[in-house]
């Protein structure tokens, strides 16, 4: 009796173990499948519609074949440059404060929590807020207010970069050993110099990684641009005017009924994803080489 019971029991346990293993493998396969499907389909559709004209020409009016998204790529570059100009310095400075000056204080905890909140703000809400802040009010003596503009889009993206940059900067600075700081101070360097050219410099690979991650995240954002940068069918590099952006153009063209425009949407997606995959791989490469190599 007893042996029979334990035999049945152990068989049941082995079976559940195998079943669970099988299910875990199945789940992984089910998860990997759509990613591979998306990539293959994107490369297939995108590569067929990618040509030189895509990178050099303006979009053609519907019905005409050809055309490209050169203006959208320029627009994305302008927006991302502006966003980085806002997000990177502020984020790094905030990270320096959290790691170097405000360690353990109540203010630092509050700021860290606020950065978390800001990180969780849905991107569409960021668009609404920037619209309410910059585009809705018409103030005569303030430039950029009262209409859709590249500036407002850049501000929205820049704000979205701050929390990521801030948190990675803080984390990386915390990893820098204290002996390095004390050595700099002991040699007579003022604190600001010690922070900027010793601590931050030691942590710079990690900080750059954080900036790249924030950049990659923001590069594909569409939602905050719909009613800030607004899109533009022509060349524009004027910050005071509406500007095209690659993700925004993809969105508009994906919903359009014209085959030529949809083709451009696929090609644009391929370009966008190649850029983002490059950024992520670069980040991973840098991270795998040891973030703080010069530290010890």
């Amino acid at each position: 009796m007893r042996t029979e019971y334990s035999d049945w029991r152990s068989r049941w346990r082995t079976m559940t173990d195998r079943l669970a293993t099988g299910l875990a493998i199945l789940a992984t396969a089910v998860v990997v499948a759509p990613l591979v499907a998306i990539f293959i389909y994107l490369v297939y559709k995108g590569a067929r519609s990618l040509n030189v004209a895509f990178f050099t020409q303006l979009p053609k009016p519907p019905g005409e074949a050809g055309g490209g998204m050169a203006n959208a790529m320029l627009g994305s570059a302008v927006l991302l440059a502006l966003a980085s100009a806002i997000g990177v310095p502020v984020g790094i400075a905030a990270g320096i404060h959290l790691a170097e000056f405000g360690r353990g204080t109540r203010l630092a905890n509050a700021i860290r929590f606020t950065a978390d909140v800001l990180n969780g703000v849905p991107s569409i809400v960021m668009g609404v807020a920037v619209y309410a802040l910059i585009i809705k009010p018409k103030i005569a003596w303030l430039p950029f207010t009262g209409h859709f503009s590249a500036f407002s889009g850049g501000v929205a993206l820049g704000i979205m970069m701050i929390p990521t940059v801030c948190c990675t900067t803080e984390e990386m600075l915390l990893m820098v050993p204290h002996s390095i700081r004390e050595a700099a101070l002991g040699l007579g360097a003022p604190n600001w110099k010690s922070v900027l050219s010793i601590t931050v410099r030691t942590a710079s690979p990690g900080i750059i990684t954080g900036c790249m991650l924030a950049f990659a995240r923001v590069a594909g954002e569409t939602a905050p641009l719909i009613f800030t940068a607004f899109g533009n069918a022509f060349w524009n590099s004027n910050l005071n005017r509406p500007i095209a952006a690659l993700p925004l153009q993809i969105y508009v063209y994906a919903l359009s009924p014209y085959d030529d425009w949809r083709r451009l949407a696929w090609a644009g997606s391929l370009v966008l994803i190649v850029l983002i995959v490059l950024a992520v791989s670069l980040v991973r490469y840098v991270a795998s080489r040891g973030v703080l190599k010069g530290a010890s």
């Binding site: 990613l35 404060h97 994906a254």
Partner: protein, 369 residues
């Protein structure tokens, strides 16, 4: 301040540093500083507070504080702007904005959202956001936990790196590209194959009435959302699971547990609070997700029982109508929806953070029973 005379550095009396003692070079410390809590090191405090670089130092410090405070300022500014710009609907509808409905005088049908006649109610959008997000969780959570279990406990070492990289990539793909793929690949598949099947076999529940010829709707939105939140849930679950001490695993195995029993009793049960946190964080992401949802949910402000019918969500209606709002009241209603979405995601995210922290911040493993 390189030329300052270096005073006697005695750890117990750092204030002596300010009065230069006038004997340069005599400052060999008699005690070695204790470096137990290095950030409070007296040596450092002394070195930082000395000399005429103090002005530059203070300026630098203030600049950094200012930048840090700007994060504070931005969030406050966002909240006040959202509140101010939604005053109009708040005064017109009050709390009823979130659950009222209207009857169209011409067609006698129930409507919720009629910008032309000035009828605004957020109910169908809240419904759509909640339904699509929970559908996404329902699909994503078992898969994400399966992936996390596989990657932390079963995966051959050579496969772990590439798979982790893949899931990182999955998280980096922009929402609009998911939407594009969903529109042209997922939705046709649903329309041709899956929706008819669902309608045929599960149609009797009323949840899967196959009366929508487009293939768009809650199911499409839920699936694409599930794909999008999978990486975040699974990577956080992985983090929480690897925070479970190895002794737990070894103890379970030593008592004769099979691998699954070890995972179930030793790992998952210890990590459950953190896993719940990861799931809620995924929910927070799903609630605010805009582009992909907008492209496949169908965008009709109605409430249907069937998951296969067209719907809409809070983020989708803002994306679709904000730039072309017909009146100030319309704009204000959309802003109020944005405010509600903001508050909802903050609550959800804060809850998730607290739960994840509780586990990864060195909480001791519990004794199992």
């Amino acid at each position: 301040m390189v030329t300052a005379p270096v005073p006697d550095i005695r750890i117990t009396q750092p204030q002596r540093a300010t009065e230069s003692s006038g004997e340069p070079g005599s400052g060999t410390p008699r005690q070695r500083p204790k470096r137990a809590s290095a950030e409070n090191s007296e040596v450092r405090r002394f070195l930082m507070g000395r000399g005429n670089s103090a002005v530059a130092d203070r300026g630098f410090q203030w600049l950094m504080v200012l930048c840090a405070l700007s994060i504070f300022g931005i969030v406050v500014l966002i909240v006040t702007e959202l509140i101010l710009r939604s005053q109009l609907t708040w005064h017109a509808f009050g709390f009823k904005f979130f659950f009222s409905s209207f009857v169209d005088p011409d067609t006698k049908k129930t409507t919720y959202w009629d910008p032309v006649n000035g009828h605004f109610s957020a109910l169908p959008f809240i419904y759509g956001t909640l339904v699509s997000s929970f559908l996404a969780l329902l699909l994503a959570v078992p898969l994400a936990i399966g992936v996390a279990v596989f990657l932390t406990e079963m995966c051959p070492r050579g496969l772990r790196g590439p798979l982790a990289f893949l899931s990182e990539l999955l998280a980096a793909i922009p929402s609009v590209i998911y939407g594009l793929w969903a529109m042209y690949v997922l939705v046709p598949i649903l329309r041709e194959h899956i929706n008819p099947l669902l309608g045929q076999y599960l149609g009797w529940t009323g949840l899967f009435a196959d009366d929508n010829p487009t293939g768009l709707g809650f199911v499409a939105a839920g699936i694409i959302l599930a794909i999008m939140i999978l990486p975040i849930i699974s990577s956080l679950t992985r983090e929480v699971m690897s925070a479970v001490p190895h002794s737990q695993r070894e103890a379970a195995l030593a008592l004769g547990a099979t691998r699954w029993e070890m995972i179930r009793m030793g790992v998952l049960r210890n990590a459950r609070i953190g896993i719940v946190g990861a799931i809620i964080l995924g929910l927070g992401r799903a609630l605010g997700e805009t582009m992909a949802v907008t492209m496949v949910i169908g965008n009709s402000p109605e409430i249907h029982r069937s998951l296969l019918s067209n719907g809409t969500s809070m983020s989708a209606v803002i994306a679709n109508e904000y730039a072309e709002a017909v009146s100030d009241l319309h704009l204000s209603a959309l802003t109020e929806i944005g405010l509600a979405l903001f508050i909802l995601t903050i609550i959800v995210n804060a809850l998730a953070r607290v739960l994840v922290w509780a586990v990864t911040r060195g909480a001791p493993a519990q004794v199992l029973h």
